[in-house]
């Protein structure tokens, strides 16, 4: 059984956010939901400033706090190390959100059908698209996936539940890479089996010094960063994305 992990080369990242876009299209996430987020920040004092980027998917921690605190075991870790949410079991208590040190979770504050970017059934939208652009709605998401064989891939993004990056579990089962990895134009991401010394992430980890976010908390993330030191406390975020979903 593989143990999936990811290495993110910050030296390569140029902040284009193609990974965020690919994630949105693949997982059909509503407005305000960013399972993958590339934070842009500024550091240093004028005139010696520079802009940095930090792509942040779910860290799929080996010792995941969100799994520990979930009162109904809706949040769980598969044998392959991927941390998933059973959307038909989640009660929406948001304990996973407060317990996660990386802020990766999104709660569907708005009924998702009200928060999609376009209502594809709206006649006015159809007038514009003339039926040429089909509604993007990945049918794979509505199928059972994962060890439990339940709805864990996002589907219709259920009202009143919490969701997050799944490492594109529906793609992994087909032998494909997660959407963010597959669509990065500059190969920032290395994804694969951390236990396989020949896998892309294992090789990436051997080639450069790596760090994990908030290692002192002993959450043991399976997402590693290389190429740059971790962003310090003195950095200044330079953009804010609404997280309430369409409001």
């Amino acid at each position: 059984m593989p143990r999936y992990g990811m290495v993110i080369d910050l030296e390569r990242c140029m902040g284009c956010r193609a990974c965020m876009e690919a994630c949105k299209v693949e997982n059909n996430t509503p407005e305000g939901a960013f399972w993958m987020h590339v934070f842009r920040f500024e550091e240093g004092e004028y005139p010696d400033t520079k802009v940095g980027f930090l792509p942040r998917p779910c860290q799929h921690c080996e010792n995941a706090p969100c799994v520990k605190v979930c009162p109904v075991q809706a949040r769980y870790m598969q044998d392959d190390g991927v941390v998933l949410t059973d959307f038909k079991r989640c009660i929406g208590c948001r304990y996973c959100i407060v317990a996660c040190p990386y802020g990766v979770n999104h709660f569907n504050w708005t009924p998702p059908e009200d928060a999609y970017y376009l209502d594809w059934d709206d006649p006015d939208v159809e007038k514009v698209t003339r039926g040429a652009v089909p509604p993007y709605d990945n049918p794979d998401l509505d199928e059972p996936h994962g060890d439990r064989g339940t709805l864990v891939a996002g589907g219709g993004h259920y009202d009143g539940t919490t969701e997050k990056c799944t490492f594109c579990v529906q793609r992994l089962e087909k032998g494909l890479l997660p959407a963010c990895v597959a669509n990065c134009p500059v190969d920032v991401f290395s994804f694969g089996d951390l236990d396989d010394p020949e896998s892309a992430p294992s090789q990436a980890l051997r080639s450069k010094r790596a760090f994990r976010l908030k290692e002192e908390l002993n959450t043991e993330p399976k997402v590693f960063y290389t190429g740059q030191p971790p962003p310090g406390e003195e950095i200044r975020p330079i953009d804010i994305v609404s997280s309430t979903g369409g409001q």
Binding site: R56, V69, T110, K214, E233
Partner: protein, 386 residues
């Protein structure tokens, strides 16, 4: 009216989603969770009356026994209602105890304790009502006594301290990850429970135009409240002292929030305890004739201070950025949240009012032959009625 507007706001929240609350992904818990923790504490704290009657033999507290159990039950119901309006899927929440393998979740654990605590309180209410109706069976007295005594350690250790752990186990939040929090919660529970029962005793006496408990008993309750406030004040002091030495950026940021945007709430919390303690000591030591208004004022200030503490605890913990790159939004409750919270409090008060009319209470019961009241602490001047 207040209940109806709360129900309307709740219905709107169910239809339009939790976007109507002032919450977001950086501050997912707010007024509902603060209300939930406050009422669980009040529920746990109200059990101290039963212990005083049955454990310490203070028969002068007996007229409050049924009312204290009712306050405990209704506060527990209010707490569960607060959590119910907070979660995204109420219908699934009710099945929570069935997920018995979630042993690492403090939320799962605390949810189980509601059922057990409600069962203890209902059983205690049943036997207390039987006694009030004139039962002379030793079994009823024995059950009422031991349920009342058992309720206190259960409420403090099994029920409420784990609510402190609910926050303390969250290592991601510097403001919460504090091992002192569970015992601190237990003491604050006693403070809020006593601060709720005192005005109930006084207001009921005033409404019924007859003394529910004597001045000596009221003075004893005031002294107990003062002692509990002093203990929680000491815990608060050391809590903040240790926190002030935090060398982590998150700790410094939380400290800045406490004395920045949340300064008013911090003053309500700390200043409230100090004002309540000063009021209690003043009326107990120097102005016994002002005892009744003094107790009402001190209790009200204490409840406000506890509410300030609970609110600050929940919100400041989340107001600090998890990572330097993640901006946080400042949380303040929305109109919908306030409306629902007011509705829950009004529903609790309404339920109390109805139940105290339906249930037989000690003051309406026929006089029983009782052993003389045993007083362990003498606070009233000699010759004053007990």
């Amino acid at each position: 009216m207040l209940v109806a507007q709360g129900l309307y706001s709740f219905a709107r929240q169910q239809i339009d989603g939790h976007q109507l609350a002032g919450l977001d992904d950086t501050a997912p818990w707010g007024l509902y969770i603060a209300g939930f923790v406050f009422f669980v504490g009040a529920s746990a704290g109200s059990t101290v009356i039963g212990l005083t009657v049955h454990g310490f033999g203070r028969k002068d507290y007996e007229p409050l026994a049924t009312r204290a159990i009712l306050i405990g039950l209704l506060s527990l119901a209010a707490a569960v209602t607060f959590i119910a309006v907070d979660v995204g899927r109420i219908e699934r929440m009710l099945l929570l105890p069935w997920y018995w393998r979630s042993t690492t979740s403090m939320f799962f654990y605390t949810s189980i304790t509601y059922y057990l605590f409600a069962a203890i309180l209902l059983a205690e209410l049943y036997y207390t009502v039987r006694l009030t109706r004139g039962s002379t069976e030793p079994r009823d007295r024995w059950m009422a006594k031991w349920l009342a005594i058992m309720a206190v350690p259960f409420a403090l250790v099994v029920l409420h301290a784990p609510h402190g752990a609910l926050f303390a186990v969250v290592k991601a939040r510097e403001f919460w990850a504090n091992p002192l929090l569970p015992p601190h919660f237990a003491v604050v529970a006693l403070v809020s429970g006593m601060a709720l029962v005192i005005p109930v005793a006084i207001v009921t006496s005033w409404l019924k135009k007859r003394e529910l408990v004597g001045m000596h008993t009221l003075a004893h309750m005031g002294a107990l409240l003062a002692l509990l406030i002093a203990v929680t004040g000491v815990l608060d002091f050391f809590d903040w002292l240790v926190f002030a030495y935090s060398d982590k950026a998150a700790g410094v940021a939380a400290w800045d929030i406490l004395f920045g945007s949340h300064l008013v709430l911090s003053v309500i919390h700390v200043g409230g305890y100090m004002a309540a303690l000063a009021t209690l000591l003043f009326v107990l030591r120097f102005r016994r004739e002002w005892l009744v208004p003094g107790l009402v004022v001190a209790s009200a200030i204490t409840l406000l201070a506890v509410a300030g503490y609970r609110y600050n605890l929940v919100t400041v913990g989340q107001a600090v950025s998890l990572l330097p790159v993640i901006p946080v939004s400042e949380y303040w409750p929305s109109g919908t949240e306030i409306s629902i919270a007011v509705g829950i409090v009004a529903l609790t008060a309404l339920s109390y009012s109805i139940l105290t009319r339906v249930l037989p209470l000690e003051e309406d019961a026929p006089p029983r032959r009782e052993e003389p009241a045993v007083s362990t602490v003498r606070l009233a001047p000699a010759g004053e009625s007990t």
